[in-house]
Amino acid sequence: MTLAQLNLSIVGPEIVVSVMACVILIVDLYCKSPRRAGPIYPLALITLMAGAVLSFGQWDQPSALALNGLVIGDPVAAILKAATCLGVAGVLLYSRDYAQARGLWRGEYLVLALFGAVGMMTMIGANHLLTIYVGLELLALCLYAMIGMQRDSVRAAEAAMKYFILGALASGVLLYGMSLLYGLTGSLALPAISAASASLTLDSLPLLVAIALIVAGLLFKLGAVPFHMWVPDVYDGSATATTLYLSAVPKLAAFAILLRLLGVGLGDWLTAWQDMLAVAAVLSIALGNIIAIAQRNIKRMLAYSTISHMGFLLLGFLGGNVHGYSAALSYVVIYATVTLGAFGIILVLSDSEFESDTLDDFKGLNQRHPWLAFLMLIVMFSLAGIPPTAGFFAKLLVLQSALESGFVGTVVFAVLLAVVGAFYYLRVVKLMYFDSLDDTVTSPEGEPGPTPRRSFLWVLSANILLLLGITPWVGSLVDWLSTALNDFGPI
């Protein structure tokens, strides 16, 4: 086996990011002030940019295997890896002030973020059950540690513990399913498993159990009902910077493993997992949207909103065809962009002593910061899926693909619940625009509150204005993302 056969260029971005993460870890030792990240922050950003550029460079390459078939490089992987790197860079950019004020901004935090990015990229390029599992665990361990790093917070410790225990359980379930699948098909490589479907039919009970366990593990990682319990507590308990990290970008990787496992590995047993996903989707949309109404804390509200969005994402998978997958791909990319914007605004509004995380903190925002209120307005309408925002196009695509596959009842149910969902997004708009600032607001004296860094505001504004879907941008994005899946399949 020569080096050329390993096809290392495909895993180039992963290699660069992980090597640089190690370098940063060493550089950190020589930094004088442990509380400030010093040169590490620019280094991390440069690393992520390099990762994004390298990944993006592969998007028009033909699909190829690397590392003896452990990893696949195809246009979807290239796009998702690039988006992951950019997303993590955005997270770091947004988190900086907030994390610095809370003593979280240390070398380790950035290194964990980078290793988490490597984990996600590994998941995205996985062509093998082991690769999926390794990537998943790498990401999960980084997340546990990042949440737990806020040592003076009881809630963060609780969140980390809950996430860790439940996450370990879900990993176990997933691993159990994978091992059963290995026993049945004799291979861990996804194309080989797919090929085994010729002889292995759904009459086999072990196969059904394996599929059920794998789907359960995946649903847990997505945070879909009935495996959603961790989502609100973890979102709420973590420092907002960490919540931003774990809410936005990992959904891209979760989409990718769903795509690899269901689209390639288990693709021919569609009938077995289709109904599971349909039920999970409907329940997620229902429960997420209904319970979100009762929340007073915006992070919890967004957590339940995430659950419902994952339900919509699953709608794209119901048909088990490339059409639906590309709809889900657009959905997840747009969702990640919106989430970045949403938490970005919460981070802007928080300052060193003040957590802007209850809904009432948004009262009268239009009077204090008209521009931020306007941005939040776009985010909320985008989450609710109201045109002309990108969120509408995302919903349009997945609903269309589900209708095409004949799930009319599911779609009608989903849109009816979307109306329920619109209520709590509207409530945020109501608080910002209709209510005026009064005595009950807990925000600190000396309005108009924190003044964010100018660069931060520019990026945030650009991030959110991208969501205005009336521009030709969304059309091109959707077109472009769907071409990425044109020749998707096992090789």
């Binding site: 239009n366 309408f381 509408f392 349009l396 609903l399 009319v408 109306v419 209709f434 969304v474 077109d479």
Partner: protein
């Protein structure tokens, strides 16, 4: 076609939207005078820009005119596809005209967040014109829903005491119907094998049960918007709480979007279902015409009275559509335009009173004619128009609808004609209590008559009402070819 013709609709849609953003950028209330003048300039310019749509309109064809078509999302075959026919063109002009009035109406009254107020109306103007011009399903839906956002803000930010409830109710009601329409549009996309073109939808053969489902989905969206009984309850709330300008736009244009939807989507796409369900729609329309008129009779609040009167008048419109008769449908279309003027003007009149006394209760007034003679003249004039006095625009529409209905079913016509009596009763009774009689309170005695600005805006609308009432022929000519074409299309079964 010239370059100008091909891009005129885009210009009419996007000019006010961009202008609205410009107004928004004037920022805080310190620059309010700039924002007002800028908004007025933009509103007048967009009205002037929309005039060529009328002067260059070809009367001899039912085909879409001023068509513009660009690919937008290739993957879904979504096009940026605009075009208008004789049904849409008058509504576009109505929108641009009333936006000017609304800007004048808000001139001195709005003192908080002035730039945002005017920007909302300008952006909404563009979006509503977009609804009337879209020939692509996604584009139509996009404009249809997007205009909810500025309207939601207008009601919620500048509205009355119960504005939050009204704004959220308005939004959720409309959203519920609209999302069902979205499902129908997606279904049609799949059924046509990948096209969102509304004109293609109209040619698509569909079997009976499918047509019924599609029609009901559209019905959910449009019946809420019109609104028809029993999904009308958002309207009195929204009207009462909205600021004057918001009420005018809601009554004059937003409601017409629902009616327009029936003609552009529901009837052409599912003609058999439309015929099958016509008795139901007619029954609901007649309930609106009669029952809601009776409800209007007992209202204590002037805005609520006009809101119920709107529902009743829109019942006439849907009645005219589903009789499937040329005269009735043209009458319904005239009624749409006329109601846009008249209800808008009545809301402006209430706004004039409200600005002075901060009360909408009929009981707070009395003898207004003694202190505000010019105002009372306009009030009586528009009340007469609302009651359908010959010579005003209200008469033409109602007369044509009743005439058309009579040729199809005498009983329907007889029932519909009841409203001429009840309508006159509630409107004139309100006028009697507000304007005539002795001066009831010292507050009324101190009222100032109309300012030049208020006279100007009421005069402009009054001119429209009179012109349409005395000489409706140009309007009928514009819509004639399109209405004939639509009825011919609807008469052919798709089964």
């Amino acid at each position: 076609m010239s370059w100008f013709d091909q891009h005129l609709l885009s210009l009419v849609i996007w000019f006010p939207v961009l202008g609205g953003i410009l107004v928004l950028s004037t920022g805080s209330d310190r620059n309010a005078p700039v924002a007002r003048r800028l908004a007025l300039g933009i509103a007048i310019t967009s009205f002037i820009l929309s005039l060529p749509l009328w002067t260059r309109f070809r009367l001899d064809t039912a085909a879409m005119q001023f068509v513009e078509r660009q690919p937008w999302i290739d993957r879904f075959n979504v096009h940026y596809h605009l075009g208008i026919d004789g049904i849409a063109m008058p509504l576009v002009l109505l929108t641009t005209f009333l936006t000017v009035i609304v800007v004048i109406a808000g001139w001195q009254v709005i003192r908080e967040r002035v730039a945002q107020y005017f920007a909302s109306f300008l952006i909404m103007e563009g979006l509503m014109i977009g609804v009337f011009c879209s020939l692509d399903g996604v584009l139509f839906y996009l404009f249809w829903e997007a205009m909810l956002i500025p309207m939601f803000l207008i009601v919620g930010v500048w509205g009355g005491p119960n504005r939050v409830y009204a704004a959220i109710k308005f939004f959720l009601y409309t959203l519920l119907g609209s999302l069902l329409m979205l499902v129908a549009l997606l279904y049609l996309y799949n059924a046509t094998g990948g096209s969102f073109n509304i004109l293609t939808f109209a040619q698509l053969p569909l079997d009976g049960p499918t047509q019924l489902m599609v029609f009901l989905a559209f019905f959910a969206a449009f019946a809420v918007k019109v609104p028809m009984v029993p999904v009308h309850t958002w309207l009195p709330d929204a009207h009462v709480e909205a600021p004057t300008g918001g009420s005018v736009i809601l009554a004059a244009i937003t409601l017409k979007m629902g009616a327009y939807g029936f003609l552009r989507l529901a009837i052409p796409i599912a003609p058999d279902a439309a015929h099958q369900l016509a008795p139901l729609v007619i029954a609901l329309s007649l309930v609106a015409v009669i029952y809601i008129a009776l409800v209007a009779l007992v209202q204590q609040d002037m805005k609520k009275l006009i809101a119920y009167s709107s529902i009743s008048h829109m019942g006439f419109v849907t009645l005219g559509f589903f009789i499937f008769d040329t005269r009735a449908m043209e009458g319904a279309l005239v009624q749409m335009i006329s109601h846009g003027f008249v209800s808008g003007a009545l809301f402006l009149c209430v706004g004039v009173l409200y600005d002075r006394l901060h009360s909408r209760e009929i009981a707070s007034y009395g003898g207004v004619v003694k202190v505000m003679p010019v105002f009372s003249f306009f009030l009586v004039f528009f009340a007469m128009a609302n009651a359908g006095l010959p010579g005003t625009s209200g008469f033409v529409g109602e007369f044509l609808v009743i005439l058309g209905t009579f040729s199809v079913n005498g009983w329907y016509a007889a029932l519909a004609a009841v409203t001429l009596v009840v309508g006159a009763a509630y409107t004139l009774w309100m006028v009697k209590r507000v304007a005539f009689g002795p001066v009831t309170s010292p507050a009324v005695a101190q009222l100032q008559d109309l300012s030049g600005r208020e006279t100007l805006m009421l005069l402009m609308v009054a001119a429209g009402v009179l012109a349409l009432g005395l000489w409706p022929l140009p309007l009928l000519d514009v819509m004639h070819a399109s209405v004939d074409n639509l009825l011919a299309h609807a008469a052919v079964s798709k089964l």
